[in-house]
């Protein structure tokens, strides 16, 4: 699994992606990790099929005792179906995820890890000396959904927003924004259900100072690409299955 350091100051952001051992028919996912002091947060740790690659990759950078927190943006299997395994490996960790999904996410197995449900309005989490914000992104696409913003690193983890469906060997970063739009269009039109929710999210995140936007699938947005994405997304009509059915 490819691992790359995205931000390195008093705390660090890593991306783990493009797992060559992943079975072909499951969607490729990007996992992220924030390390601050002796604590860390793994964002959208992934499905059960990539668990062993994830564990091995994380332990290249930090010892297992320092994997202290997990975050799941929503309840999908590619986000958190590995929970039952993490539950055995890091039993003293805490899971931050939408509180609304508790009864559903517990189906993946959560006997030891402490379940910390995030209220609809969002909240904050301190990892080591770093304070992260949970930004509501409800109905994008999941009915209870959060993103994570780091005001120091100016990084927004945007879950399925900004996702693109691409081959396994594609670059981690956008090289040409215009051609990249073609790879994002259907995903956003079909998976995102609500133009109203989209406008709500745009209004919220446009107030944030963002230098890097990290989606859970596809490529990372840097610098002006973040604003370009927001303009593109604003103009996009989503929820198209209703028109086609």
């Amino acid at each position: 699994m490819e691992a790359k350091l995205l931000f390195d100051d008093k705390h660090q952001w890593y991306v783990f992606a493009r797992d060559p051992d992943k079975p072909d028919k499951i969607i490729d996912t990007n996992q992220y990790m924030v390390v601050s002091g002796k604590e860390s947060l793994v964002l959208d740790p992934g499905g059960i099929e990539i668990f062993s690659s994830m564990l091995s990759t994380i332990l290249k950078f930090i010892p297992i005792e320092q994997v202290t927190h997990l975050f799941a943006s929503h309840q999908d299997p590619d986000i958190i179906s590995s929970l039952g395994m993490w539950d055995q490996v890091i039993p003293h960790a805490k899971l931050y995820t939408p509180g609304l999904w508790e009864g559903f996410i517990r189906h993946f197995g959560c006997e030891n890890i402490e379940f910390c449900g995030i209220e609809d309005g969002g909240g904050e989490l301190k990892i080591g000396e770093t304070v992260l914000q949970f930004i509501p992104a409800h109905y994008l696409h999941s009915s209870a959904n959060f993103h994570v913003y780091d005001p120091v690193a100016k990084i927004l983890f945007s879950g399925d927003i900004g996702a693109a469906l691409e081959p396994q060997d594609s670059s981690l970063f956008i090289e040409n924004f215009d051609t990249h739009c073609d790879k994002m269009r259907f995903f956003h039109q079909r998976w995102m259900p609500s133009n109203e929710a989209k406008a709500h999210w745009l209004n919220r995140v446009r107030k944030l100072d963002i230098e890097m936007m990290l989606p859970q699938h596809g490529r990372i947005f840097r610098g002006k690409e973040v604003g370009q994405f927001m303009d593109w997304f604003e103009a996009l009509n989503v929820g198209i299955a209703l028109d086609n059915s």
Partner: protein
């Protein structure tokens, strides 16, 4: 009877070993660079350090072997980690199937249990073989590092007999020593992770 280790501990251990060897590989590349530098110095010094020519060649070869072996161990550890997770999933499945049988005995489910247990046995055997082979490869890399430190001693000895190259050769000897010691430490840590697993009970 083949010993069975906790699949949870096995998955953690193999990932820890992969992590240690990933770090060791990085240092091995620095060691290789030191080896190339030493060859360049020996070449430049010519007859003044004639005794080091063979040693520096041996050292360059050793450094390359170390990189290769560290990467190989890293790869095997990842395979073992996948295997441990697979075994873990099978164990969980068997546990659930037994629960199901307790509630409502069914012949088909019994057959599935039988097949899964056979797979469990097979994967457990493979796991045990791989973990032993991992141990012996860690031993081998440790021996490489001992040899590497002998090279450092030779450089230091030779350094005392030259004026012009004394400082460079001493620096090289120190670098070789430091890199070898660091790699050795990662290997020892990897071995102690394995030892803890082998001494544990399921």
């Amino acid at each position: 009877m083949v010993k069975e280790y906790s699949p949870v501990k096995s998955a953690i251990t193999s990932s820890q070993v992969a992590g240690e060897l990933y770090r060791a590989s990085g240092i091995a590349r620095q060691l290789s660079l030191a080896a190339k530098n030493s060859q360049a110095v020996v070449h430049r010094a010519g007859s003044k350090v004639a005794g080091l020519k063979v040693i520096s060649e041996y050292f360059a070869d050793l450094a390359l072997k170390t990189i290769k072996l560290a990467e190989e161990i890293n790869r095997i550890s990842l395979d073992i980690s996948h295997m441990a997770v697979e075994r873990w999933r099978q164990n969980t499945l068997v546990g659930h199937l037994f629960d199901s049988q307790e509630k409502n005995e069914n012949e088909k489910v019994d057959q599935i249990i039988h097949v899964t247990k056979r797979k469990q046995l097979d994967i457990n055997n493979r796991f045990n073989i791989e973990i032993r082979s991992l141990e012996s490869q860690l031993e081998e890399i440790q021996q490489y590092m001992q040899a590497s430190r002998v090279v450092a001693v030779s450089f230091r000895l030779e350094a005392t007999q030259t004026d012009e190259y004394q400082g460079i050769l001493e620096d090289m000897a120190n670098n070789i020593d430091i890199f070898s010691e660091k790699i050795k430490q990662h290997v020892l840590d990897a071995k102690s992770h394995i030892d803890r697993l082998l001494m544990s009970n399921i």
